[in-house]
């Protein structure tokens, strides 16, 4: 059967031949080059903006400024999928260094660069704020008048009697953890090509959210959604950074002004860092425990640095609230999760979104508690991990719970109880650590698909699932192939193209395999029924006595009485049959004051364990072995699943050990791959293994992120095991580890 087979990606030959048609590679006739003129002040009023000299430069087709959005019948300057706070380009005020102020369309890169030099701008600087917690103080400068304290979202969870919980605790342990700004760093940059023709807008773009882009652009330009067409070729990586709305409104604004010719807007590597980042987070976590290791209470406060505009933060802050608690039985839980405006670039989803920061905190904290109580961190986890039929802090009962199985798989992998190498006199010390994650998925969303069967026996699956390297199209083809009883070679996948493929919320939050997979099953069931109905008169048999399997409609009691799909169509004189499928989930409305309710239809579950070597003379941490586990339910494609699990760990190693966007008073000082280091072949553990946990009769769940969030805390815990220092700030650099070792020595501990 197609499901469960390690089928190579459908377009494998293109992938090894350099012919994948990324948006970055798209060339259209008469295409113009787009460029962005940006703010050099973190917070300022624009007192003068003069683009007249740039406009007159030969080869400049158009310059767009906020002035183009004043007057009647002009597009809306502001947009946002949740809060409409973001201008396409700055109005009269800039709120971060690098904010777009003017847009240029020119015949060539060189001319666009010359035009940039001719734009003149003057500012009146305002005081700026970069730290999220400080931005909430009464005297902090305000970014948006409607949010005077800069709190864009305050999500709350109130479960149980928190005071009583702490009152009965034998030990109360409180810690603070921080995660820095990071960057998604897809190797293919953000790209949008826009063309405005006959009052219709077409955009080719590397986006994880084609239908969100369509609705937001329709709203900006006052168009019917059907007159906006979004075409998404395969992405050269997404990782959340290409979700929501990114550069598409700027490309569209240029195309709107140019009228007719397409405009291609490609971010430079430095501009990538100005376009989207990962939320920096500060997490205060306090737990009450009994001496036997039972939890009595947990209080968490999270400050998410959301940058200058809301983008997707307003709802991510609620998701992040749930993801900082931890998969443990705790009778009383309070969480305050704040989304805060600061004068920094926009923060948004980053693979393992709003989980990595929280899991680093609660899993490091777990080990601190275990050491305080004098128990094995593994045993403390096993004692407290949520099990099926337990209740989570939202008050919702849990089903399909496999945290213990994930944890057991990874600790067995690294040989948790085996002796570690102890080399007397060596400066290199070994240690082991583990961590577990839980993450809700997007709870109220919908996926649709259309399947077309041709009379020549070919099937096309039309979906708006974005192929960004995860193999989503291949997985959907496998599911359709099995459901239709056809070989995978008979199937192809088309989309996303909003003119041709039906709506899907977005390809994010590890939702595609489950949501679109079930939509595909729905469409396939409908197609099988149509085939049976069409075959009944031919086989002269009542519908209820027919089966559909392996490319045939057959009489159930006499399987030799059968007719192929193609024959069914040809005999009925139809060239194609089409079926629609849909899958919708409808939970997620939590009480705004208490966070109580049903937050998700499925919990993403994963774990990691590792062995590290710490050089006590340099502080350098080398991860020698890493084992990861994700609960998958039913694996659609083990090869692609393994790539997701390993890819997550490697992505997580970057955030754990290397990646931090350095910012000096609002100015990013390392927006390049020389100073912002991504994991290379030399950074990965020599032993890197993963397991996708399957359960008989289960559905196929997403696994795009599960093994990522445990990476940083598993390593931090292993560092503690090796050298006895607790690092509470990411990344876990040699400098931080060495300083902690020296401070411990200085204090004579």
């Amino acid at each position: 059967m197609a499901i469960g087979e390690p089928v190579p990606m459908l377009d494998s030959v293109a992938r090894v031949s350099g012919t994948v048609p990324y948006a970055a590679n798209l060339k259209l006739p008469d295409m113009l080059v787009g460029k962005v003129f940006r703010s050099s002040a973190p917070h300022a009023l624009i007192t003068r903006l003069d683009v007249s000299a740039a406009e007159q430069l030969p080869g400049v087709a158009a310059i767009v400024t906020a002035a183009d959005f004043t007057g009647e019948d002009t597009p809306n300057l502001h947009f946002g999928s949740t809060i409409q706070d973001q201008p396409i380009i700055a109005d009269d005020r800039v709120r971060f260094i690098g904010e777009p102020v003017a847009l240029i369309a020119a015949e060539s890169d060189g001319i666009a660069d010359q035009a940039m030099d001719l734009i003149e701008m003057e500012y009146k600087e305002l005081s700026a704020i970069f730290d999220a917690e400080a931005a909430m103080l009464p005297n902090a400068p305000t970014l948006h008048e409607t949010f005077p304290q800069n709190i864009m979202r305050h999500a709350k969870l109130r479960h149980g009697d928190i005071e009583a919980g702490f009152a009965v605790a034998d030990e109360i342990i409180e810690e603070i953890f921080t995660s820095p700004v990071a960057q998604q760093a897809s190797l293919e940059p953000q790209v949008a090509i826009a063309q405005w023709k006959d009052n219709k807008l077409t955009i080719w773009t590397g986006s994880q959210s084609p239908y969100t882009v369509r609705s937001v652009l329709a709203s900006i330009f006052g168009l019917e959604p059907e007159t906006v067409r979004i075409i998404v070729p395969p992405l050269g990586g997404g990782f959340g950074g290409k979700g929501n709305i990114r550069t598409q409104p700027m490309a569209a604004a240029l195309a709107w002004k140019v009228r007719g010719r397409p405009v291609k807007l490609v971010m430079t590597r430095a501009e990538e860092f100005l376009t989207v980042t990962k939320h920096a987070a500060k997490i205060k976590i306090k737990s009450g425990v009994k001496l036997d290791g039972t939890f009595t209470a947990r209080k968490v406060t999270v400050y998410w640095n959301s940058g200058a505009y809301a983008s997707s933060s307003a709802h991510l802050v609620q998701a992040g609230m749930l993801r900082t608690i931890g998969p443990y039985r705790i009778p009383a839980v309070h969480v305050d999760s704040y989304g805060i405006y600061t004068n920094l670039p926009i923060a948004a989803a980053y693979r393992g979104a709003m989980s990595s920061q929280g899991v680093f905190a609660h899993e490091s904290h777990m080990d601190t508690i275990a050491h305080r109580l004098g128990v094995d961190p593994l045993e403390l986890r096993k004692k407290n991990l949520l099990r099926t039929d337990n209740t989570f802090a939202t008050g919702e009962p849990l089903s399909d719970v496999y945290f213990l199985d994930c944890l057991q798989a990874v600790v067995d992998g690294v040989g948790w109880h085996e002796p570690l190498p102890r080399r007397n006199g060596s400066v290199k010390k070994h240690g082991r650590g583990t961590a577990v994650m839980m993450k809700n998925t997007i709870a109220n969303s919908s996926s649709e698909c259309r399947i077309k069967l041709d009379s020549d026996g070919h099937v096309v699956v039309y979906i708006s699932t974005v192929e960004m390297g995860q193999g989503g199209h291949t997985a959907m083809a496998q599911i359709a192939a099995e459901a239709l009883g056809m070989p995978i070679e008979a199937l192809s996948v088309s989309g996303p193209d909003t003119a041709k493929t039906p709506p899907d919320a977005q390809t994010a939050a590890s939702r595609n395999t489950y949501m679109m997979g079930n939509a595909v099953l729905d469409a396939a069931a409908s197609l099988r029924k149509q085939l049976a109905v069409a075959a009944a008169p031919i086989l002269e048999c009542p519908l209820e006595d027919l089966s559909v399997a392996d490319g045939y409609v057959l009489v159930t009691s006499q399987p030799r009485e059968r007719i192929s799909y193609s024959e069914v169509l040809r005999t009925n004189n139809v060239t194609a049959l089409t079926a629609m499928g849909k899958y919708t989930t409808n939970v997620g409305d939590l009480d705004p004051e208490t966070g109580q309710g049903i937050s998700t239809t499925h919990w993403h579950q994963g774990a990691g364990a590792c062995e590290v070597e710490v050089d006590t003379k340099t502080g350098k941490v080398t991860v020698l072995r890493y084992h990861s586990a994700a609960f998958a339910g039913r694996v659609v494609n083990p090869m692609l699943a393994g790539l997701q699990n390993d890819g997550n760990v490697i992505y997580g190693l970057g955030a754990a050990l290397l990646e931090e966007v350095a910012i000096d008073t609002g100015q990013i000082t390392n927006p390049n791959f020389s100073d912002y280091m991504l994991p290379s072949f030399l950074d990965i553990p020599v032993e890197l293994k993963n397991v996708s946990l399957e359960v008989e009769g289960s559905s196929f769940y997403g696994i795009g992120e599960m093994t990522l969030p445990p990476v940083a805390p598993a390593i931090a815990n292993a560092i503690y095991d090796a050298v006895g220092v607790r690092i509470r700030d990411l990344p876990l650099t040699a400098e931080r580890v060495l300083r902690a070792i020296q401070e411990r020595t200085d204090h004579g501990q």
């Binding site: 990606m9 992938r15 190797l187 293919e188 050269g236 590597r269 390049n672 791959f673 994991p679 072949f681």
Partner: protein
């Protein structure tokens, strides 16, 4: 900027091109010769997505001026397959699932070809070191290592660590 006429030998074909003298090889390949397998990403020679072979050696085409390669032989990913048959390294990458988004893949495959030109039977440490200039953000490194091992003349697993 002055234009220059250069003759390039790319994938076995000669091209006489008039290009700006400051143009980088990556741009000439992509824009003038329509070879999209070499890709821009970091722009400073750190990521390897723009890797091509220059007289058999892997180089970053974003760091090379086109006028510097006059008369030299360039191989891009488009020139690797012969008569419609994938190169063995390309096939090994498919067999071992050694890619995800594949933006980095042409560069990695060309670096692998260069590695195997220089080292007849590289061990794992040599493979890791040699390919460390080609970043894969999707993190397919384990599968890539397996693919490269399979390309050694004798796929001797005793080299594995």
């Amino acid at each position: 900027m002055d234009n220059k006429t250069v003759t390039l030998h790319v994938n076995g074909q000669s091209h006489a091109l008039e290009i700006p003298s400051g143009q980088i090889l990556l741009e000439t390949l992509r824009e003038d010769l329509d070879l999209g397998g070499a890709r821009g990403s970091c722009g400073i020679g750190m990521c390897g997505t723009c890797t091509v072979l220059l007289d058999g050696k892997a180089i970053s085409s974003c760091l090379m001026l086109t006028i510097q390669v006059e008369g030299k032989h360039i191989t891009t990913i488009e020139g690797l397959s012969q008569n419609g048959e994938l190169h063995p390294v390309q096939q090994a990458y498919i067999d071992h699932g050694a890619f995800q988004c594949a933006y980095c893949t042409p560069g990695l495959i060309l670096s692998t070809v260069a590695l195997l030109n220089e080292h007849e039977n590289p061990d794992d440490a040599t493979i890791r070191e040699y390919l460390s200039g080609n970043l894969c953000r999707c993190g397919s490194y384990v599968n890539i290592l397996n693919a490269v091992r399979a390309c050694r003349p004798v796929d001797d697993q005793s080299h594995s660590v």
